[in-house]
Symmetry: C2
Subunit: 199 residues, 2 copies
């Protein structure tokens, strides 16, 4: 039983995301997506003219979600502390819901870095100047070249990587999935404190 025509596209998009996230573009099969959506391949091509187009929509949406948190930190007017706290909390929570998202984006971006440009041309949100100013205002040492960039890279790394590398770190720490998830939740405050201590 299908949902209303208008929302069918969205349903497909959601199911397709799951497949693409886990298997990547080349590993994903149109047949599998169609099966998941309970339609046949022809219907899939009726809603999305090609695998590439379907993938592009999934990828751009995923990238938007991923960059959303960053944009807020880089351009918002809130105090630096607040922005950092919000980013750490939001990113951890969001990524934990779709653990394969980060690995998917990195893997696809590795092969086709140009796919990023679509997100950069439009939105001007992606700019470090505002962030650097706020940092420098808090502590003068952040005026030095690359100091703000290092802080930013630290923040993102500390949040994203442990989620992305769960299949590696979880066995390494002898934690089952539940325990590792608890560990990740615990990290939110750990990371926040570590970062704020640098200000």
């Amino acid at each position: 039983m299908k949902s209303l025509d208008a929302s069918t596209r969205d349903t497909i998009l959601t199911l397709a995301s799951a497949v693409f996230y886990q298997k990547g573009f080349s590993g994903a099969r149109m047949q599998e997506i169609a099966d998941l959506a309970g339609i046949n391949k022809a219907m899939l091509h009726y809603y999305f003219k090609s695998k590439e187009q379907l993938f592009d929509m999934v990828f751009q949406q995923a990238l938007g979600q991923f960059l959303g948190g960053i944009a807020q930190v880089l351009s918002g007017t809130a105090p630096l502390q607040t922005k950092i706290e919000q980013y750490v909390a939001y990113t951890t929570t969001a990524l934990m819901e779709t653990p394969a998202l980060a690995a998917f984006i990195m893997h696809e971006l590795q092969q086709h870095p140009e796919r990023l440009s679509a997100q950069f041309s439009d939105r001007r949100i992606i700019d470090l100047t505002n962030f650097r100013q706020q940092l420098a205002a808090t502590k003068p040492q952040y005026q030095e070249p690359n100091a703000a960039e290092h802080f930013f890279a630290n923040m993102v790394s500390l949040c994203v990587y442990p989620v992305l590398a769960q299949p590696l770190l979880s066995p390494l720490m002898h934690k089952n999935e539940a325990k590792y998830r608890a560990f990740l939740r615990e990290r939110t405050s750990h990371i926040t404190q570590l970062l704020l201590r640098q200000l």
Copy 2:
């Protein structure tokens, strides 16, 4: 012109690594690997009976390289400071030589986490106890549950992610490849200081 039969296998393995690293298992093509090696597909299957077998060798080797640095930190007898300094320097350097390695491992591990087990059954090197003891000896607060794990996760994240996410962070920081590489090199000391400050 081919190299000596014995080393041909290694040549293929190296070339295949490059392809697998960039395109993953499902994106890689036996034909492309054969072309790179200057042989035809039949020869490729002569040396490696299947794509899966060739991939397994590549993957296990990649994983070994990736875990090599970690093992040293976790089990060596050197002082903690030295081990940290060595890990940061080694990891950054090693990953920068094959930037696609980390994304490759994460992506494949996401789909087949069981591929990790091969590395874990044999070597007992992968154990945090030694590391935790050294940490606790330096600062008692690291006796608390998960404290050592957080430190470890921080260390790995700070080193690996900025290399892995180069296609994302490089444009975001308005750095070309050369400048971003310089930034990564600069991070070696930045990360080391940050970590040692936590002791």
